[in-house]
């Protein structure tokens, strides 16, 4: 694969096309996926707090709902960016042939790839931010913390959007997208310290869970409650995964368009 040059207009124009589709049906697009982390937040937060009370996190007692709020932001980021990257990009690549149509315009592969990727990341960012707003309204996350967490939300959205694109480029049938969902997304969503501190897991499983990219994102988004001492490594870990996923995704999709 040869990296073709991108132009800001080209990338924006592709992103803008996806935004126009989203805008035309924004209520349908927006509400159900965002409701998911919000429902988890409310159900588990209010439902389990009376049973659990507090959680021991980094040596301090934290109310359960406050503990899971950053986890739910991360879940919103993961689901929305991954599903847009995986399902929607797969459909645009294989059924609607949107990528092929875009490549008849004066756009390069990199324009179209980045436009799709950034759109997946935008959807993750919207979901993460809206979940964060619900947490703010429920007094579980400070407004200033949410603002300061935005770069992390974007970073996570880019990473999981790229992972989604890699899946879109790697599978041949839309049903096969379920495989990484059950093998990677669901385990990551449950084990990454979203609903409970990872140190309650058996040691070996804890080690594995600590390495999951979502775990690094959840730890970082939980910064208002304190950061683990290895947090700069978590940040680098996320960046490393992001670069790897984006590179692999481009390598898988390119041969589907150019021969």
């Amino acid at each position: 694969m040869k990296l073709t040059s991108a132009t800001p207009w080209g990338v924006y124009s592709v992103w803008w096309r996806h935004f126009q589709v989203y805008r035309s049906t924004w209520l349908v697009n927006c509400l159900p996926p965002i409701s998911e982390p919000v429902v988890y937040l409310l159900a588990f937060g209010y439902g389990l707090t009376p049973l659990i009370g507090g959680v021991d996190y980094l040596g301090q007692q934290v109310p359960y709902a406050t503990f899971i709020a950053p986890g739910m932001i991360a879940v919103g980021v993961l689901f929305q960016s991954f599903f847009e990257g995986a399902y929607s990009s797969f459909i645009r690549l294989n059924f609607q042939k949107t990528w092929q149509a875009l490549l008849t315009a004066p756009l390069s592969f990199t324009d179209v790839f980045l436009g799709d990727w950034f759109w997946a990341a935008t959807k993750g960012t919207i979901a993460g931010t809206l979940t964060g707003l619900v947490a703010v309204i429920a007094n579980l996350y400070a407004p200033s913390s949410l603002v300061l967490s935005l770069p992390l939300i974007v970073l996570g959205s880019l990473l999981f959007g790229a992972f989604g694109l890699l899946v879109a480029g790697a599978v041949n049938k839309v049903d096969q997208v379920n495989v990484p969902i059950f093998l990677v997304v669901i385990p990551m969503f449950t084990l990454s310290g979203t609903y409970f501190p990872r140190d309650t897991l058996p040691p070996l499983l804890e080690r594995v869970a600590d390495l999951l990219p979502l775990a690094a994102l959840v730890d970082l988004l939980r910064w208002p409650l304190g950061l683990p001492p290895w947090w700069p490594w978590s940040l680098l870990w996320l960046l490393g995964w992001l670069v790897l996923m984006a590179r692999l995704a481009a390598l898988r999709i390119y041969p589907r368009l150019f021969s």
């Binding site: 132009t7 035309s24 609607q96 004066p106």
Partner: protein, 307 residues
Amino acid sequence: MATEMLNLTAYDLWKQYGDTPVVQGISFTLQPGEIVGLLGPNGAGKTTTVGMLFGTVVPSRGFVQFGPWQMPTQGPQARTQMGIVTQEDNLDPDFTVFKNLTHFAHHYRITGQAAKQRAGELLALVNLSDRAQAQVDELSGGMKRRLVLARALLNQPQLVFLDEPTTGLDPDARQDFWRLVQHLKASGCGILLTTHYMDEAQRLCDRILLLQQGKVIDEGSPEALVERVIGQEVAEVEGIAADLLKTLAQRHGAWCRSFGSGHLVTLPSPTADLLWNAIEAHHPQRLLRRPANLEDVFLRLTGSLLE
């Protein structure tokens, strides 16, 4: 937009997939205002060649020059002056007919009122103004092809690729499409047309490259090709012994070969009538005298029919 008219030149294009050569040494130049046809059966390498010309297929050897740009490295720049109608309909099912055009215009930096105006002009050109607010799925096959063509013209291209644009269309829809192609040519646009319909190639093209197994086996204007390879007239004959017919043909310097359930015989001038009368004298079950066409050319050059 460049004011200078641009030529497209293919230099010795080769494409190989594994050990299978798909395109083998195709070279030609397309001038502004000219319609060049790539005519050949399915699998002759037409679409692969077009892919190399607009930049989605990377040649194994050779290169493509369009004005100052070389493909595929400068594909995006070159495509600012190209319009591409691919074989598959890749219209956007998420948008209405009108928005398919205005939203695609955005990629050419045509936005806002300018995009709406251009979309309106093009819908009028392709006779879809009354379907502007329809969903793409509600369009017939012919309307979809016209909309894809309209989308390819948003940027007022100097060169348009039409890759089997009328495949699957009914005769009326094909005629409509042909009128648009002739209109484009008249406006000075260079057109590269791939087709396996010889009547389409014969009617539209100034020059034809006959393709078989990735190679150009002959080229020229449709009339010149027919005249040079076949002559003016042929006879389709059924119900005469092959040996007898071949003897008659040889005697008149004509070419003869099996064709469907009978034979095809050229009627070379100036002895066309003599040969015709000779065949007629044997009372064949079926006898048809007709002008020679590109199908006959293809049959003579390749031994097989186009479709």
